[in-house]
């Protein structure tokens, strides 16, 4: 607990402040606030439709919030273009994997590496390192369209890492993985901290892994934040149990 009291005083890396967003008549996000510190893994938990992906879209600049602010390293980034936010140090993955199908695995990753690399040759070299790191080294020169779903998930992560982000938004990282692969992904997420990368991991199911990988948990339900706390507190929170954990279909 001493670590968290120490960092609590420092300014957060990311601060989402009272963000609201509606699509037509549907209120996707209502006054959602959360903070992510530079050394933590925050789990963003909630059933399908809770607003996790919408929140990721707001943070990464794909959507502009109707109200509220997003601050990254103290600067307001709400309304910035996505490429500017990416360059500032926020990378993301997509829930539905979206590889550049006709480009090779290396080139998929090199696109992000270009943000730092002075030349394309350098970007491809950096990309190859990241591709090897996520375990796709043998497939580096294949078109991305030939990868399996699991491999595409890894490619998704590799592309984000190539940006050398300070904050990584992982949208539904566990979806579609086998239990063994989930353990591998959990190891990877836990390892981010040693690389100096903070993360927000959106997770719908698999509470067992949420408890393992996260330092803190924020629970969303129907676009509202209904709870926040460390894993033990969330497990005991009656609102969470009722809205989410208590639902028999949601438990793995």
């Amino acid at each position: 607990m001493s670590a968290s009291t120490r960092t609590r005083q420092a300014a957060p890396l990311l601060a989402v402040e009272d963000v609201s967003l509606a699509f037509g008549g549907v209120q996707a996000l209502s006054n959602v606030s959360l903070e992510v510190r530079a050394d933590e893994i925050l789990a963003l938990v909630g059933p399908n439709g809770a607003g996790k992906t919408t929140l990721f879209n707001v943070i990464s600049g794909v959507l502009r919030p109707d109200a509220g602010d997003v601050r990254f390293e103290g600067r307001s980034i709400a309304g910035w273009a996505p490429h500017r936010i990416a360059k500032a140090g926020i990378a993301r993955t997509y829930q539905i994997v979206r590889p550049f199908a006709r480009l090779s695995v290396v080139d998929n990753v090199a696109v992000g590496a270009l943000v730092h690399a002075p030349t394309i040759a350098r970007a491809r070299r950096d990309a190859r390192d990241v591709v090897t790191f996520v375990g796709l080294g043998a497939l580096a020169d294949r078109p991305a369209s030939t990868l399996t779903l699991t491999q595409r998930k890894r490619l998704e992560v590799a592309r984000a890492l190539a940006l050398r982000p300070k904050l990584l938004l992982l949208d539904e990282v566990m979806a579609g993985l086998t239990p063994t692969e989930m353990d591998g992904m959990a190891e990877f997420v836990l390892g981010l901290r040693e690389r100096g990368i903070a993360a927000v991991a959106g997770v719908e199911h698999v509470m067992r892994l949420v408890m393992r990988i996260s330092h803190r948990i924020v629970v969303l339900d129907a676009g509202r934040r209904i709870a926040e706390g460390d894993p033990a507190a969330i497990r005991a929170n009656p609102a969470v149990v009722e809205a989410y954990l208590g639902a028999p279909s949601a438990a793995p």
């Binding site: 600049g61 490429h83 997509y94 550049f100 480009l103 696109v111 270009l114 592309r159």
Partner: protein
């Protein structure tokens, strides 16, 4: 070995193209000019549509702008033709910036249709200026031989191929291809999509803009149907598709194959050549949906893979 063969083919083609006016005249030189023009137009289209993935039906607008600007500058202002043609290309390129800023907000079929509409709009605007002679057209002093125009067009074609070859290996080209595959994802990976696609659009306007001036000089008379020729526009698109969209050599192969087949058919079956030609195109595109160049590349890759397996102990 394979590389040497490729380089030799390119050098031979270039030498043939450069030497053509020394041995050809009349009909054959016209054919050579139209072939080179088609090659260059197909390359111009290939940048915005093949690499950036914005399928355009309106690049001919920039060809028309170049043609009319050159015609006016030569006929009324007595500018040297080469300066006038250059100015026409730069004007088309400059106009592509505001036009692209608006049009590139559209995507997919909406962009394609929007560009078609835009080309019609530009055509009406250009021909409503009294100085262009409206629908009646504009005569140029007929003092130019075809040879200088041929070399002008050949130089632009070579430049367009060079730019494409650079694009294919550059960081800018990779960004364009990423945005062709998925613009949202490319943006969240740090690609400034607006800047990249506007640059591509400007290049895809400069090339036809520069060619238009040459075409006006070739015809020595310019009117709306010639300057904004729907046939030239469609033809260059089909050539690029036939050869292979978004590849370095696709437009060249497609344009060479198409112009030669079309001329041969026209000479042999003047009444029904278009029917035969259309049928052949359909058959080719069904057999090779991604175009000739990707099909050949795929075959070479597969053979190399088989060779590697057989060579392994």
């Amino acid at each position: 070995m394979k590389r040497a063969l490729g380089v030799a083919t390119i050098v031979a083609t270039a030498l043939l193209a450069i030497a053509a006016p020394l041995r050809l005249d009349g009909y054959w030189l016209n054919l050579a000019y139209v072939t080179v023009l088609s090659v260059a137009l197909a390359y111009g289209w290939n940048i915005i549509s093949g690499y950036a993935g914005y399928f355009s039906f309106g690049q001919i607008a920039f060809f028309g702008i170049g043609a009319y600007a050159t015609a006016l500058l030569v006929a009324d202002e007595r500018w040297p033709w080469i300066i006038a043609a250059l100015a026409g290309g730069l004007l088309a390129c400059a106009l592509s910036i505001p036009l692209g800023y608006v049009m590139l907000r559209l995507r997919g079929p909406f962009f394609a249709m929007g560009m078609f509409g835009m080309a019609q709009m530009v055509r009406v605007l250009v021909t409503s200026i009294p100085a262009t002679g409206a629908g009646a057209g504009l005569f140029l002093p007929p003092s130019f031989g075809l040879v200088p125009v041929y070399y002008w067009t050949l130089a632009i074609a070579a430049g367009a191929i060079g730019v494409t070859a650079w694009l294919d290996r550059s960081a800018f080209g990779l960004r364009l291809q990423a945005l062709r595959e998925d613009e949202h994802v490319a943006a969240t990976l740090g690609v400034d999509a607006t800047r990249a696609k506007m640059t591509a659009f400007a290049l895809s306007a400069l090339i036809p803009g520069l060619l238009g001036g040459g075409y006006a000089l070739f015809l020595t008379y310019i009117e709306p149907d010639a300057a904004f020729s729907a046939r030239l526009d469609l033809q260059s698109i089909v050539m690029a598709i036939l050869g292979g969209v978004g590849t370095v050599w696709g437009p060249l192969v497609g344009a060479l194959v198409m112009t030669q087949i079309s001329e041969a058919l026209w000479a042999t079956f003047p009444q029904v050549y278009l029917m035969i030609f259309g049928g052949m195109l359909v058959a080719l595109l069904i057999a090779l949906p991604r175009g000739i160049v990707p099909a050949i590349a795929e075959r070479v890759r597969r053979r190399a893979a088989v060779g590697a397996v057989e060579a392994a102990p």
